[in-house]
Symmetry: C2
Subunit: 129 residues, 2 copies
């Protein structure tokens, strides 16, 4: 039995994967911030983007695009936030790289401007004093 | 004189670019949410990731990594938030694709957990009720 290295993502059964390819898989986020919030994860346990191989990066991006197509088809979102947190200081809590694909819907928040700028809490509203 | 298509990024003089390659350039954000907040932008005016060519995507990612190396060297951040907003519903306000590279520093916010989850304001604190 291979170790999962403590990654909760590797404990998700394949039956719950929503998409996959040779080097990456996609799962729903356990604590979704919007309907359809999905994580794209390398099969290999690697903590950061810089730690991935070129082949893994290609697989991750291909799967990210596939997930977006699937989400558009299923949920008809009006936009997406896409990205990753690297390091505890940046809010990373699971040290297995995961690209967030967050479908967004018109009106899901009163003022969506800023988007991932809000990763730095309290600084995202760049048009407010 | 070529039109800039209304993209404020194309109005930034090349002397202010902090890095570039054949298909992409990097500039500091005008409203930084952290010291060194940088945007990686395709030279061609294209609104979304899906609208880029494979060559542009490669150039963008290569430059993103180069920018991270530069920022690590200059500012010694403890982490990064990296990603993009796609569509007004997701908070995109300049419709010229730009990858945010946001250096993060231990203690820059009281509790950084969640990171880009906070793009959906009020939903990022998944461990709070």
């Amino acid at each position: 039995m291979e170790s999962d290295g403590g990654s909760i993502f590797l404990q998700v059964p394949q039956s719950q994967w929503i998409a996959s390819n040779d080097l990456a898989f996609a799962i729903r986020d356990t604590y979704p911030v919007s309907p359809g919030h999905t994580l794209v994860v390398p099969r290999r346990l690697v903590a950061t983007w810089d730690g991935t191989t070129a082949a893994e990066r290609a697989a991750l991006l291909e799967l990210m695009s596939e997930v977006k197509v699937q989400l558009r088809d299923q949920l008809h979102p009006d936009g997406f936030n896409v990205g990753f947190n690297e390091g505890a200081a940046a809010g990373q809590t699971v040290f297995h790289l995961h690209i967030h694909v967050i479908p967004r819907f018109t009106g899901d928040v009163p003022d969506p401007r800023g988007g991932i700028r809000h990763a730095v809490m309290g600084k995202g509203n760049w048009q407010q004093p």
